[in-house]
Structures are given as structure tokens and as C-alpha cells.
Amino acid sequence: MADIEIEIDGKVVSAKAGEMLITVSDREGVSVPRFCYHKKLSIAASCRMCLVDVEGVPKPQPACSTPVNEGMKVHTQNDKVKASQKAVIEFLLINHPLDCPICDQGGECELQDVAVEYGSDVSRFSEGKRIVPDNGIGALIQTDMTRCIHCTRCVRFGLEIAGMMEMGGTGRGENLKIEPFLREGIQSELSGNMIDVCPVGALTSKPFRYELRSWQMNSMPSIARHDLVGSNLFVQTYKGKVKRVVSADNDWVNETWISNRDRFSYEGLTHKNRLLEPQIKVQGQWKQVSWKVALDYAVKGLNSHVLKHQKANQLGGLVSSTATMEELYLLKKILTEIGCDNIDHRLNVKNLDNIITLDSNIKLDALEKIDYALIIGANIQLEQPMINHRLRKATKKGADIDVLNVMAFDFNYLLNTENITAPNKIVFTLAGVLKSIMTNNAQELPDYLAAVEVDEVANNIASKLLNSSSSVIILGEHIINNEDASTIANLVTQIARNANSKTLNLSITANTIAANLVGFVPKNSGMDVNTMLVSDMRGFILLDIYPQYDFHDLEIAVKAFTKDDTFVISLNGFKDDIVSDYSDVILPIASVYETSGTQLNINNDMQSYTAAVKAPKEVKPAWKVLKVMADLLELPGFHYADSTQILAEISHQPYAKHTHDEDINLTSKYNSISTIWQSSPYSIDAVLRHSSALQKTKIGQMNSAYMNQASAETLGLSADDKYLGVPVVITSAVADGCVFINANQATNTQEQT
């Protein structure tokens, strides 16, 4: 686009030919009121609030849909413009209730602001106003549709961003209503953003309803901690409580959107299950004690069970994937100092000899510029909504996407092909893809590929990869416990190398990348988590662990922690019976937004945040607890005044890179039916599990074990049964030989019925 010059209010500014006037005026800081225009949505030009005067054009023009051209002279403040603005506001207010005092949007309402600034002082309208009934659209968004000004931002948001058209304008003229169809409620994982885009009080946050005015709250920038995007957001607080979370702009990370789990998880912070005081178990009885007593008890326990006997090698440290980088580092440092190498964060991996090692080498914003993606083992729209959104943008520009999954999932874009394959076949398909690519490149084939048959699916994927100029291969969470996990990851690496493709590893999530960076995995003779659980251990330090959700096998873990002479120190944010059963000390730690820390996202951006609120009651940030524990253990080098000093020390650590073993063994070892246990997106961490509004949504309630008829027969199950405690759903969408579980409950807590 050519550079041109135009004049706005007598000031010459430069612009690109063809861009919309409002883009230029926004850039120049000229205020033009608007309702329907939103920088990330298509242009509707329906509200007419943005009218400006363009010299030579008799009628005022909407700035949001008037392209600029050389020499254009625009006035945004003259009488003609003012008269138009006044008229538009008057029309908008004809049907808008003047009930700002009882409207939740009051004080942060675009209509209120614009009416005050551009409207008239008195209303000339004394007739009856339109009233629109509300039917409710779910647990997250409160509707007051009488206040809707039909800007259609929410409709366009659904269509263009969420990829599910859920809201629409029904009826016409005076009867036009913005509503969803069938009143099932809004389902999209990104729907909470409608609250932010709605300029008036028609769509507001339901959990926040009638709580506070925006000006009463402090707004603190922070980082979302539920997935590896690390969306930027503002935490709004009042009197030490988090009251609401809204999105912050960062084009590099989350653009201007956040997922529902990032927006509503804060509700969990005030749940009655919060752990508020340190506790110690004396002769089987729990006692609430002061921090001093609890920490002394913990340190004494460590001394008497482990250190006194020089048995640091029988101590283990395990962490949840949501821990901050500083917490991970400190715990590792403590354990290293006392001579213990038994550390791990990979709690849900069944076989640690068979793990996925795959680097992500594509940035979030580059994802929308790819022309081809192969997704393996992910229900990406549900599990990674923000990343899926980038892919969806790529498809809109023509990218093709192929899927290799064990079950047919919902996608909010058209797929090139959707291949539903049994878990034990995935490895062969990928081997076929690699063989096809190498044959095509006239490369010498390694031995293990010699006998591989290349089927049509593999051939198609291979030719797509070869013909693409920027492709990505995405490996998802469903592969974690695949019997061929490491081979699959290795094949993906090989394929990517030979097809010049990028890779994205979504099999890890939350702050796992930080855990890898600080090296929270066993080195030297250290034991990994699975070995620890079956070894003779004398003590554990567990950071925010809830075994029934975090481990693939609850029983083994609980058995290991419960052993009589095993001293267990648990740092937890929430009360939990199982944790109480096996722990000797429970230390209450700060949860999201209550602690400072750092999150390392998939872009490798180190995003640090400060605490937005003080943790309740006796609760302390885990890094402080660990620091004091280190002091009491009389370990050197723990003189941190705040968490940034810890971070500074980490940054100097060499980055622990993965190494790839190139040995690929293609003999599949398989039992008849394999089970993939996938927690529902709102039960992946403790805060989410305690946020009531999220739990009420359809996604929060999802709890099904999907299998096809044949698998059900093999397992002797029918549609009324439960499998591993989860209700059975029989559907042909699942591949043979596979049960796919989407659960909002604990793993294996109930026996199979």
C-alpha cells in the first residue's frame, strides 16, 4: 500500500492508501466515537457513531468504513460532525434504558461515555421503550438484552473469532433481537470475550454481577497460568480480593482475547476448600499451628527421617505443572543442596522410558501464517483454544489442516482430512509419512523404514508437507501415554527435519517448559517419579499435588506416600482428603494472582508477574515458604528478598536442552484396548476445579468415556455402565481399540462397574 498524506482537523498525517480512516485517526490519537467498530473484527458500519466530515463529500461519512486517499481532508470536530453525533446518540438512546445506576456496565460503558461527551443533555423522547426478554445464555455471561444497541460485535466475534456463530440477530426492525438459537447457552471456550467486546451492559460477567464499579478496583497486569500460552490479562481487585479478570492486549501472545478458563478461574481463590493455616499431624491427629511450629516440625521431620541417616537419596521432590519457575528452581536448589537428585514434574506419564521429547520451534503469531498443519493426538479447540484460534486464522487464509486422532472431535474450521486411527496405528502412519517423504527426496532409507507400508493417508500427508512452504506438525496431549510416545515424537522430529517443517509440542502444558528449563528432572543417579513411587523412600516434598488428578495411577502414588516411615511435606493451595491422609505437614501456599513468579510460555517468553492480592489468612507464597525452609535447614545461598532475585539467578543457568535419541524401533507392543484419560479443560488444575461458574458450564460438566460398539463389547460394557468411574458413551466417532475419556473427576477413584 502506498504511503499517502491526509489532513485530519488541519493536521497533516501520513497513512497507507486504502486503510480505513478510523485506523488513521486512532493511530494519531484523534478521538472518534464508535460502537460497532472493533479493531479485531470485520467492519459492520451499522451504528453510524463514527461519522466524520470529509471535504467534498456532501454527507458525513463513517470513519470505520471510509478508506483514505491522497489529499483527503477530514474534520472530526466541526458543527456538521457534532450535529451528526448528537443525532446518532439520540437515536441510540431512544430504546436504550437510562438505568445506568443499576447497570453493571456503568462506569465502563462506551455508550455512557459517548453519550456524556457527544450527546444532548436532555431527552426529547417520552414514548414507550422497547423491552427485550432475557432467556439466559449460560453460567458465565449475564444478559440484559434490553440494553443491547445492536452493534453486532458479539455476533461477529462468534462468527470470526470463536469460530462458532452462536449469537445472531433475529427478527427485524423494531423487533430485532440479539440472541443465541435454541437457548442452549453459549458453548465456545472463548465466549467470555463477548463481555469485553460488548460496548454496553447487555453482556456482562455473571460471576461479577452487582459486585463493584470498575473505578473501585485496582487493576494489576498479570499472566494466565492455565496453559502454555500465558495470556496477558488484568486482575481487578478490591480490598485484597480478586473480583474480576479481563484481557490485556499483546499481539505476540494472546492478541486481545483470553480463554474462559483464564477469565473465570479466579473464583476458585475464595472457595471454602482453600487451605488457610499450616497444619501438622501429631499422632494421627491434625493440629493447626503457627508457621514457625509447622516449619520447625517439617525440618525436624526431614532431619530425623532423612538427613540424620545420610539418606538424602531416599528423599523425593515432586511438583505440579502449574508451579512458578521460581518455585521449581528453589525446590530443586534445596534438594540439590542436601544431596538429593530425586526430582520430577512428569507425574502423569506412565512410562518414563517412553517420553515425548519434542521442541516447539514456532511462535504463536507465526502459527497464523502457516499453510499446512498436521495435528496429532489433540482435541485442540477444546484443549488449547488460544492456539486453535491462531490455526483457524491460518485456515481462513487458505491453510490446509490434516488431523490424526483417535476420535473425531469438533473443529471450528474445515479440515483437509480427518483421520481417525487406533492409538497403536499412529506410529505406523507416521513412519509411512516419513518413508514417503524420504523416498520423494531420494534419500537413503534407514533400516527401520524398509518394511513400512505407505498407505494413502501417509502419502497424502507427505505430499502436503512437501508441497507446503511453511508447515507445522502439532503433537498433542493424547500421545503422552501412547505406547509408542517416544517413537512418535522421534518420527515427528524426523519428518519435520526432512520436510522442513516446524514442530509444536502441546503434549506439555501450563508451566512445564519452565520445569524443563530449570531442569526439574532427575540427573545423575536421581530417580524419576515412577521409580520414586516404587522405591523405599523416607520422605517427600510435594508442591501443590493432588494425586487423584495429577498421577496416572492414584493407588501407586498414595501407597508410596502413605508408608509408615515416610515423612511427607505437602505444600498445597486447597484442602484435600487424600493429601491429609498421607501428609505429615501441610503448608498453605498462595495460588494464582497471589504470588509473584514467572511463566515460560510456548514462545519461550519469560513472563513475570507480581502478586495482585495478598494471599488470605496465613497463606504464603510457596517461594517464601521454600526459602525459609532452606534457611531452617541451614543451607547456604538462599538470601532472597523477593522473587525477582531468584529469577535473576535462574537466567544464568544453562538451558537444559533435550537430546534426541535417533533410535527408532517400530515394533508395536499392544494390548487390545488402550485408554486415553484426558481431564476436561476445567479440571486440569486445582484453581479451575474450584471455580464454580466454570464447573456449571457444559465443558465443566463433561464426563464421558467414549468408545465404539466393538470396544464396548470387548470390555463387556453397555451405555448405562461406567468405565473407570466415568459414564460410558458408545459412539462410532472413536477408533477401534480405544477408549477416550474426557473427565471432570478424579482418576480411577471409583472401581469399574
Binding site: 456463530m165 433475529t170 427478527g171 426492525g173 438459537f181 435454541l182
Partner: protein, 157 residues
């Protein structure tokens, strides 16, 4: 939900639009489906049309509620769509509507006791030259007078 026969008719319309633009046939599809469902649409039939055309249910609903040609409540065998927009109004539509209501003994929006006729007030039907006018089923009747209305209505069976 949609009969094979209706699907065949819809397919004819789909074929008129470019590939992947089957949703352009939504108006005709709704009309066809309405015709085989007692001349009315329900949430289920609208969803069925949307599914058949691979479009969001709400998008079909938008169309179905925008045009007066679609009925969402039970209607009579004959539907009189009486225009009351500007041209017709200036030519006396309001009085004629009252006349029709009195003659039939029902208000607009309702069905006669025998289920034969229902009356709807609609916006401009694009026949302003012949205002005042109404439409019965697919046929236009223009330059209406009370006598003419009586005559037309008497002939409905």
C-alpha cells in the same frame, strides 16, 4: 425431519449456487420445509435446514425470523399477509385491516375458528403501485376496497 422429496427440491436450489455456497439456498430450503410441515417452521425444522446446508442454526434462524413469509406459529389454510407499510397505510390499509378483522371475527395474528384463514400484518411487499394490497399464499391482490376484500375472502375455501 426433512423428507427425501424436500431434499431433492432443495438440491435443485443448491445446484444454482457455486460449490460450498449451499447456504445461499436457505430461503428456498426454509420455504420447502415449511410447506411440508403444516406451513410453519419450528426450532427443530430450522435446525434441520441449517444442518442440511451446513450452516449455523442461528444463521438460518436469522433468515427465518427476518422474512414474513415464514410462519413460526400455527397458521390457517390460507394466510393473508396484509401490507401496512407507508404506501398502503396512506391509501387506507389500517381501516381495511379493521374491516377484514371484523369480517373474519379474528384479530391479526390469529386464525379463524374453522382454521381456514389467518391474517398477518406485514411490511412493504413491493407492490406500492397497487396499494393498498395484501397477499394470500403466493398471490397478490391489489387496489383493495372493502367490497373487493369481501369478495376475495368469500371465495376462499
Amino acid at each position: 425431519m426433512i423428507s427425501i422429496d424436500a431434499k431433492k427440491q432443495i438440491d435443485v436450489w443448491i445446484a444454482k449456487y457455486p460449490k460450498d455456497r449451499q447456504s445461499s439456498a436457505v430461503m428456498q430450503a426454509l420455504k420447502i420445509v415449511q410447506a411440508e410441515n403444516e406451513n410453519r417452521l419450528s426450532a427443530d425444522t430450522i435446525q434441520a435446514v441449517a444442518d442440511y446446508l451446513d450452516m449455523p442454526g442461528i444463521a438460518a434462524q436469522e433468515v427465518a425470523t427476518f422474512y414474513e413469509n415464514y410462519n413460526h406459529k400455527k397458521v390457517g389454510k390460507h394466510v393473508i399477509r396484509f401490507c401496512h407499510n407507508i404506501s398502503c397505510m396512506l391509501n387506507g390499509a389500517d381501516d381495511l385491516i379493521k374491516h377484514l378483522e371484523n369480517k373474519l371475527g379474528v384479530k391479526t395474528g390469529k386464525i379463524t375458528a374453522d382454521g381456514l384463514i389467518s391474517v398477518k400484518k406485514v411490511e412493504c411487499l413491493g407492490a406500492c403501485v397497487g396499494a393498498p394490497m395484501f397477499q394470500i399464499n403466493d398471490e397478490y391482490f391489489e387496489n383493495l376496497t372493502s367490497d373487493k376484500i369481501d369478495q376475495i375472502v368469500n371465495n376462499l375455501k
